[in-house]
């Protein structure tokens, strides 16, 4: 087995931060190396060094045994190193072909773009690795999973044989994740080597050949998937024992708090995406809405919180209709909303922490008197909440944009949970977060449930639904196909429902399987 890539003693300092501290990593040929670590552990910095976006302060990079200086991404590409970024670098209004050829446009007769030749190469690459990408499709029409495959094609088109994938599964549905793993296997089989950056334990164990864990900028340990347990990996990552299962008592359901009757909602393109939904949530219980992303969950939550209008049907909170209320009226009646897209809805990124902590209550005492903001009250409250909800920040005056995803989410949780609330709507509350933050936010949600708050949890992570819910509603194509008791749930049956099978068929097909749930991310 030959070593294709070696990093020796890489050290990178940013003002006030040691991002990488003498990191040694090696990658063998035809291997998937998982680089595991919490947000802020230095994974991305390390890979940006490898890709020539940053220069290391110390250390060497060896490609196939030869020491190289990588000063720019084009140096990296010349050495056969390609990177698939977490946020795609694609032009939505261009075709796949045009995106792939950007920057290295081949021409006919010197001036005309030779798209035909590129499209042909794309088809070849696509077939070879089972990528199934149409070169003539426009990026904006493609689902996220396919867009990611276009990014992979871009890298392969430039003849990379060392691929770096930065958090590639963060944006994918479970099915798309499965597809990605198959593609990675096909790449390995044809002689490529892959570094896979992630913080999800389950993925690492499912597909890595070797695991290197980073913590606080340094290598915390290495392992082979077959020889470690998720628990060991998690504690290596976080630096302390973490609980992978959610500790919770039996629910004590009270009165019905949220009652949804025959709800219809249209999305922004005027398609009916919530198609006659009826359910209720009681105080002191968690109703989990399971389903593959894009089956109307987002719009359901938007309608419940006033961000999208209700077409027909009714939403009752303690018997009072919220169907045509404004977001503010809904907020004031005691509904908290942890939004799916925390940067789009949940925060005003350039604002400091203290402003975001009162984003929904700024007009109420003690934060303002008349129209005048009361700075002392705002600061005091933010200081207290920051401590209470363990937001890691040098000061409450820094912009939330500078915080890590986990800490941004904690700001939202702090703000929403500290109000007097009757109903908590949490949409993808732990998406993109590391194990430590997930553990924290889950325990807070259960705490609210035990306080008697009705919790509506929407998540595309089935494990999250299983770990937190007392009842589970499965959503498919804008409808709730079944509501189950979490105690008696069969995971396979749930999966079949999520994939669109009718309950009767699914019940006959699903074998009674394991029912204990261990939450592994």
């Amino acid at each position: 087995m030959t070593t294709v890539l070696e990093l020796r003693g890489i050290t990178k300092r940013f003002p006030g931060v040691l991002a990488n501290d003498h990191v040694d990593i090696s990658l063998n040929e035809r291997e998937i190396l998982a680089l595991l670590g919490e947000n802020g552990a230095g994974k991305t910095t390390l890979m940006n060094i490898l890709y020539g976006l940053y220069q290391p302060d110390e250390g060497q990079i060896l490609v196939r045994g030869e020491e190289v200086a990588i000063n720019s991404p084009s140096d990296a590409i010349a050495r056969g190193i390609g990177m698939v970024h977490q946020h795609f670098m694609l032009v939505p209004v261009m075709t796949v072909t045009e995106n792939v050829m950007l920057g290295i446009e081949p021409t006919k007769n010197g001036i005309f773009l030779d798209k035909g030749q590129v499209a042909k190469r794309i088809r070849e690459i696509s077939e070879q690795y089972g990528l199934e990408v149409d070169p003539d499709a426009y990026i904006k029409d493609l689902p996220v999973g396919t867009q990611q495959r276009v990014e992979i094609i871009k890298v392969l088109y430039r003849n990379a044989d060392i691929l770096i994938l930065d958090e590639p599964t963060a944006v994918l549905t479970p099915q798309e994740v499965e597809g990605l793993f198959q593609i990675l296997r096909a790449l390995i089989d044809s002689g490529k080597s892959i570094i896979f950056i992630t913080h999800k334990l389950k993925e690492v164990l499912a597909m890595a050949d070797r695991i290197t864990v980073l913590r606080g900028g340094a290598v915390a340990g290495s392992a082979i998937p077959s020889e470690v347990t998720p628990r060991q990996l998690a504690s290596l990552m976080v630096g302390r024992e973490v609980s992978l299962t959610v500790e919770k008592e039996k629910p004590q359901p009270g009165e019905v708090v949220l009652q949804v009757n025959h709800l219809y909602v249209k999305d922004e393109r005027e398609h009916v995406v919530v198609n006659g939904i009826t359910f209720d949530v009681r105080g002191g219980e968690v109703l989990g809405v399971a389903g593959v992303q894009g089956n109307g969950q987002t719009e359901l939550v938007y309608a419940l919180t006033g961000l999208l209008p209700v077409e027909s049907g009714d939403v009752l909170l303690n018997g009072e209709s919220l169907a045509h209320a404004t977001p503010r009226q809904i907020l004031e009646r005691g509904v908290a909303h942890v939004p799916e897209d925390r940067q789009k809805h949940g925060l005003v990124l350039p604002f400091p922490i203290y402003d975001n902590m009162m984003l929904c209550t700024y007009y109420q005492p003690p934060f303002s008197r008349g129209v005048v903001l009361q700075e002392k009250a705002i600061m005091d409250s933010a200081t207290e909440l920051t401590a209470q909800f363990d937001v890691r920040t040098p000061s409450i005056k820094v912009a939330v944009s500078t915080l890590s995803g986990g800490n941004q989410q904690k700001v939202i949780v702090a703000r929403e949970f500290s109000r007097p609330i009757k109903l908590l709507i949490a949409s993808q509350p732990t998406r993109g977060l590391d194990v430590g933050s997930i553990e924290y936010i889950h325990s807070r949600i259960i705490e609210k449930r035990d306080d008697g708050v009705a919790v509506l949890l929407v998540s595309s992570e089935l494990d999250e639904i299983l770990a937190l819910s007392d009842r589970i509603a499965v959503m498919y194509k804008g409808q709730i196909v079944d509501v189950l008791d979490a105690d008696a749930v069969n995971k396979e049956y749930l999966g079949l429902l999520m994939a669109g099978m009718k309950p009767s068929e699914a019940a006959s097909k699903a074998k009674p399987g394991e029912q204990t749930v261990e939450r592994v991310f």
Binding site: T305, L307, T326, P327, R328, I330, L331, E332, H337, P339, K344, H345, G346, L347, V348, L349, P350, F351, D355, L359, C360, Y362, Y363, S368, V371, V372, L373, E375, S395, K397, V398, A399, S401, T402
Partner: protein
Amino acid sequence: MSEKNQQQPAKKGWLRQAREAALVPALAVFTGLLIGAIVIVVSDADVIAAYGNFFSNPLHAIGLTFSTVATAYGALFIGSFGSFDRLVEGLGIYFSTGETRQLLRAIYPLTESLVSSTPYILTGLSVAIGFRAGLFNIGAEGQFFIGALCSAYVGYSISGLPAFIHLPLALLAGAAGGAVWGAIPGYLKARFGAHEVVNTIMMNWIAFRLSDWLLTGPMQASGFRPVTPNVAISAELPRFFSDPIRLNWGFILSLAIAGLVYWLLFKTTIGFELRSVGNNPDGAKYAGMSITRNIVLVMTLAGALAGLAGTVQVLGVDRWVGQGFSAGYGFDSIALALLGKSHPLGVVLAALLFGFLRSGAARMQSMADIPIDIISVIQGLVIIFVAAPAIIRRIYRLKEKAADEESTVLTRGWGR
């Protein structure tokens, strides 16, 4: 930890922030003046001729280069601040004889600069407040005209009122006129999604043609010139000195209003909403703020500010409105708001810069025979450097800015 200790880092941070915020604009101004000097030199026939004989007499060419620039910028400086010698002389005469004429003449250039800064401050605030809410108010020029016309009408048509009623009434009329002119595109945007850039430009044209018609018809003074009658003395903003010094209470008013805008933006719930909407409309909606209400509100405020600029110009300086009354205050204010980073303090400083440049330019033209347009060139350069700070950072090898600063959203694309 004691109270004092907690305050310390905050204060330091504030100073550091202010210095960092001012660094690029200051260097932009400096660089603009530097390149302006090159333009002055290459457009001077004598200097070019001297360089033709460079090898026979290099010292002459170089000396002439420096003297040309020194004369031009010297005249610009004296034109905008006044001459120090004259000031000393004026003070001497004043103390020995009590005669003020020489002294007033010495401070005249300085006061004229402040007079031309005044409308810049208010129109700059108008554009800046729009930027803060994510809106691009190109309509300050039209709002300026409407404000001027409304206040002039109230100023000349009513007589017999005491000043303490007539003047506030005229000021209010001007602000209200501008407010309406701003509110219309605001409403169109909020209600129908019509883009404010297009609408405010159209409102400008309507304002120009409306004023043409009013000045040649209903509001024309007796005589042939297309101007309004003079406003009544009771509606005038009082001047601080006797003629010809035109510095008046409008300057103080505009500074007070800059303070008020600062307070509104950063210390009140209204400003918090405006800035939230400007930085993240989705987040603002999530937080229960009304986007439409805020759009209409901010355009109304922006219109009122620009209208007040026209008002102050009429009531304090010109006393009547004529065609071409504005001299482009509304358009320069866009550049000015950019230069001031849409912060009221920045806007005041930028407005002073523009006012001093503009007022010194006339002197430069007459004394050093440098075309007044060179000021437009310098202003343009400064704006380019402020709008593309990467240029300045590259030239002066400044470190990349940390991304944690609240940036101003200039526009958010079409049709939203």
